[in-house]
């Protein structure tokens, strides 16, 4: 048990920092996912077949392929792709991408596919009258989206978004294969050097449970806040 103490003899402080890293990667990935969703949700809802096809291709491929495979693609292919783009601009040195960037980008793309589906479903389940009413009232596009559609969409999307957050949080454990020191990687290192894998992996499980528990409490409160009056 003293292996979990803070300080030089225990792994407590290392694991605490690793937990912060997991949270940081999850939040960054979730944010990158929102950016992807912002691009692909309009594509999926577009009138044009070709744009629909692009949107569907993204969500189908990412949701049908294991997360680990996507992470390997980014881990092994990431710096190659960046170097290729840099070579177009006349930069030929070796570029190494940080594990944090690769990891949050890979997880972000995965989380983005789920978020896209959630936003699409939420927008589609808004009453048609709302769209028509805001058109009749002559609102411009900005007010139409941000003041009429978005508040209603968020209320409908929040319960599912908290699921996406859970999935994203758990998926970050997979980027330990790239060497980024988050909970899983730190437990692996600690288990290797103390030969006590049972303790450290069980403790990692407890840390993940704690993270999901706290975030669920927070998200439930947010949900209640957004569904006032319903």
């Amino acid at each position: 048990m003293e292996l979990l103490y803070f300080g030089d003899n225990g792994w407590g402080d290392e694991l605490f920092i690793a937990t912060l890293m997991t949270v940081a990667v999850s939040i960054t990935a979730m944010f990158i996912g929102f950016l992807f969703a912002l691009i692909f949700t309009p594509l999926k809802l577009s009138k044009y077949k070709i744009l629909n096809l692009i949107g569907n291709f993204y969500t189908t491929v990412i949701r049908g392929v294991p997360e680990l495979l996507v992470i390997y693609l980014f881990f092994f292919g990431g710096s190659g792709a960046v170097m290729y783009v840099a070579s177009i601009f006349g930069y030929f040195e070796y570029i190494e991408i940080n594990a944090f960037v690769t990891g949050s980008f890979a997880i972000g793309i995965i989380s983005g596919a789920y978020s896209t589906e959630v936003f699409r479903g939420a927008i589609q389940s808004i009453d048609k009258g709302q769209f028509e009413a805001s058109k009749v009232l002559g609102f411009n596009k900005y007010i139409h989206f941000f003041k009429v559609i978005m508040p209603q969409m968020l209320r409908l999307a929040l319960p599912n978004l908290s699921n996406v957050w859970q999935i994203t949080l758990k998926d970050t454990s997979l980027i330990s294969v790239t060497g980024l020191v988050e909970i899983m990687r730190q437990s692996y290192i600690a288990a290797g050097s103390t030969r006590d894998p049972l303790l450290f992996y069980s403790f990692a499980a407890v840390l993940y449970l704690l993270l999901t528990f706290i975030s669920m409490k927070f998200l439930n409160r947010l949900e209640k806040n957004y569904s006032r009056g319903f």
Partner: protein
């Protein structure tokens, strides 16, 4: 694009996909029993049994699958007493460890799916059965289970696809499943995109087949 590599790696990856399918079918088979058992325990009126089943599903759904595999594969071998029992024969094999971890994980999700299916059965069905004098056992097997299957099919289809993606984690405990072989080829040839396209297409094909199979079953079970 290295098309030669794509062609030569295809049979290797296809072979590895068989291991993925084996892992998937074994864990789904056992997971269904675990899920059914815990769903029944969840609906029990005894608060202790109830809480225990809830705790099981909460823990397995709240932690990453990777942690679960590592605890079972690396963690359990550490207990001296455990290594002297006959169970050690099973637990020293990464293949069985992976199946046990997947079974427990999918069992937790399945129990939630089945529980909500049982809870949404209209009480009228059970009351009708009781008033006809049918025994509780037959009501359960002949009325509740068929309705629950029909109710839970769409959600269970999603769970099968999630589990198929989950089997990729078997590659972290030295098993050479589809992802494991794909990673091996990538790390020896440094051609991630080509291998990703081939391996990804195989996964997508499996998703496609599972998706349509569930759709077919849904149609079959809907009584119209």
């Amino acid at each position: 694009m290295d098309f030669d590599l794509m062609i030569t790696s295809f049979p290797k990856l296809l072979n590895a996909a068989l291991i993925t399918l084996k892992l998937l079918s074994a864990s789904l088979f056992f997971g269904l029993f675990v899920g059914l058992l815990f769903a029944i325990l969840r609906l029990n009126n005894n608060p202790v049994i109830n809480k225990f089943a809830y705790g099981y599903s909460y823990v397995f759904r709240g932690t990453p699958l990777l942690v679960q595999i590592f605890i079972i594969y690396f963690g359990l071998g550490q207990i001296e007493y455990f290594r002297s029992t006959f169970l050690w024969v099973v637990f020293k094999e990464p293949y069985w460890c992976a199946i046990i971890a997947f079974t427990l994980n999918t069992g937790a999700y399945t129990s939630e799916i089945l529980r909500s299916a049982f809870q949404t059965i209209k009480p009228g069905f059970i009351e009708a059965g009781k008033s006809l004098g049918i025994s509780n056992k037959i009501i359960f097997y002949k009325i509740q289970i068929p309705i629950a299957i029909k109710q839970s099919l769409p959600a269970y289809g999603n769970e099968i696809i999630l589990m198929m993606k989950g089997t990729s984690l078997a590659s972290t405990v030295t098993l050479l499943d589809l992802t494991g072989v794909a990673k091996y080829i990538i790390s020896t040839t440094f051609k991630p995109i080509e291998v990703f396209i081939v391996a990804g297409s195989i996964y997508l094909f499996m998703t496609f087949v599972i998706h349509n199979l569930i759709k077919y079953l849904e149609k079959k079970f809907s009584y119209q």
